[in-house]
Amino acid sequence: MSEIFSDLSFAVFWYAVPIMIVLLLVSLGGLMSERSGVVNIALEGIMVMGAFTAATVIYFLRQADDPMGRQWMVLIGLSVGAISGFLFSFFHAFAAVRMQSNQIISATALNMFAPALHVFMARTYIRGTDSINIRTTYRITVPILSDLPVVGPLFSNAFLSTYIGIAILIALTIMFYKTRLGLRLRSCGENPHAADSLGIDVGKIRYIGVMMSGLLAGLGGAAYMIAFDNDFDGHVLGLGFLALALLISGQWKPLRILVFAMVFSLFYVVSSQHGSIGFLSSVNLPSEVYRSMPFIITLVVLAFFSKATQAPKALGEPYDVGKR
């Protein structure tokens, strides 16, 4: 294995790009929710929910296992993950928007619920263990495009989710800055009272924001499971929280988030694949140091960038008409 990865660029396309897509999807999901004014630390739990449902569906569909059918399974898995994330996040939206409860508490409930449901269902229905195994290879190589110079590696041994992810990211950024819905989302996070006075239904917009974040986090969870965690055991190992940190260090702005996502995914690859990247395996640091590196770096970045925060002004505050 170490032979293959002596070239760092290969590791980048093999691991860093798919993980970056996952982080970006979830992080932009968080953006939708938080720019509309609702804190969403449930991203981790929603990712688990998306991964769990996708793994379950693929597990039961696995009988049809020819190469084309496999990509169909991926597509179905991703859709199911996204839909389940969308539905699951309703509970957070209901608590945060309709019931005006503490947004961190209801999100914590979601974070605890998803892994528990996964383990319970896996043990009860699948095969009596904690994990759901869908282990096969889901990578694809696009015929002509993969022979191109420069961008070629992006199209060989890649995941379908990468392309879907890129398409969604572009669409979302345009939606966020160029459409009426995007503007409304942002206004509800900055000044819901002003938005309300202009006839915008703050509650509805926030529901949309939270549930879109659920859709994206569910999709991200499913994409992560298919790419990296085929023997899914109900944990996404803090990726949802990293995506949240990414959102904060990126100051709730899509392009900055993209930059941070690139940097983070490189560190994440180093932390999980250090043994197989040529020059790193010779340094010989304990693997635990590598594993905690993304989290240490995040903490340092947060310490530097949080002082002058540009968080949405109404973030975390339930909308109370009476305060106008």
């Binding site: 630390i41 019931m99 009860t124 989290f295």
Partner: protein
């Protein structure tokens, strides 16, 4: 009978505490109901058996009650830690990381410093508190001086603690079984005869330590100036600053104390034999159950005692019902209970309205009856 009901409702309406307790009880009922429905869906024939085992099962023997008490100790302490931070307006989601660091400090002292003699156990427990305090201080300092939200900082620190403590254990007190060594016999929690009372060999004084801590925190929060200052920072930071309270230092102190309590939980959990500190890449559950405990107790230190006992109780019940349903069901029920307690503000309002309406109707009824006579 009706009169008694009205009088109870009136009493409830006058005491905000009673409404709080009722809303927590409602959350519990909601969670158990959800679990029951899930059991009905999975296997309707055993659902009543399952519910019976979960709720009443632990009463069946002294041994089970001993189990409940022993396993309530760590979540009582982490719950106390989260509740304490809540009162200062901080959400200590980092209890699990502080617990991990505390566990390592305790085990390091417990394994190596055998020269301490009779003081060994107590020094190990203090070390646990020190470890947790150090880990709690970091998000406190970052919050006070760098404006980093304590939730995000604590989450990062949880994972850093997880991996780095694995490394520290591997380097210092490693047992080839992928776990830490057990502490020396002088550093294990004694049972003070509780073992024979409950005829449960795993019993120890952990629960007594936890109860003592709950009373201390209750006194600090409610009977000291320091506690008053912490609470005022929690209620309104600008108001506290205006009143001359150094709110930054109070934030740091609060996180240090919360961290030390969670660290103590690590000591109480692992200064025994039988429950080893395993090397794993998943965070310890007890820290998160602590959040559930604190929420259900609405952050009152004495309420934390009952909430911790309750969660330990249904966990035992879940184990006892494992012939019918997987014990992970309890984790689901706990999550649903937290969700319902997130709605507690709403539930309290509903309860208050309900009480008001009932008592008003009753007064009108009495008045009209008075007219007739």
């Amino acid at each position: 009978m009706n009169k008694l009901w009205t009088r109870t409702l009136e009493a409830v309406a006058k005491k905000p505490n009673a409404i709080n307790i009722m809303s927590s009880l409602l959350a519990i009922v909601g969670g158990l109901l959800f679990g029951f429905i899930l059991m009905l869906i999975i296997n309707p024939n055993l659902a009543f058996y399952g519910l019976y085992r979960i709720t009443v099962g632990p009463l069946s023997s002294m041994r089970d009650i001993g189990w409940v008490l022993r396993n309530a100790a760590p979540i009582l302490l982490t719950g106390l830690s989260v509740a304490f931070a809540f009162r200062t307006g901080l959400f200590n989601i980092g209890a699990t990381g502080q617990l991990t660091v505390g566990a390592f400090f305790a085990l390091y002292v417990g394994v190596n410093w055998t020269w301490l003699g009779p003081a060994h156990l107590w020094v190990a427990l203090l070390a646990a508190m020190l470890g947790g305090a150090l880990w709690g201080a970091i998000p406190g300092l970052l919050k006070a001086f760098r404006n980093v939200h304590e939730v995000v900082a604590s989450i990062m620190l949880n994972y850093i603690a997880l991996h780095m403590i694995n490394l520290m254990v591997r380097m210092t007190i490693y047992h080839p079984d992928e776990r830490a060594l057990y502490p020396a016999s002088s550093a294990r929690l004694p049972s003070w005869g509780l073992e024979s009372v409950f005829s449960f060999p795993g019993m120890n004084i952990g629960i007594l330590i936890a109860l003592l801590m709950a009373f201390i925190i209750h006194l600090v929060l409610n009977k000291t100036v320091f506690g008053y200052e912490l609470k005022s920072v929690g209620l309104s930071r600008p108001a506290a600053r205006y009143a001359g309270i150094n709110e930054k230092s109070r934030v740091v102190y609060s996180m240090i104390i919360a961290g030390s309590i969670a660290g103590l939980a690590g000591g109480v959990m692992f200064l025994t034999t039988g429950i080893p500190f395993r090397l794993s890449n998943v965070l310890l559950m007890q820290g998160f159950t602590g959040i559930a405990v604190a929420l259900l107790a609405l952050s009152a230190p004495l309420g934390v005692i009952f909430a911790a006992l309750f969660f330990s109780w249904i966990t035992r019940g879940g184990n006892l019902a494992d012939r019918a349903y997987d014990p992970e069901l309890i984790e689901i029920i706990v999550a649903v209970i937290i969700y319902f307690s997130a709605l507690s503000l709403f539930m309290k309002q509903v309860l208050a309205d309900f009480v008001k309406r009932r008592t008003k109707e009753d007064v009108q009824l009495h008045e009209s009856q008075g007219d007739v006579s």
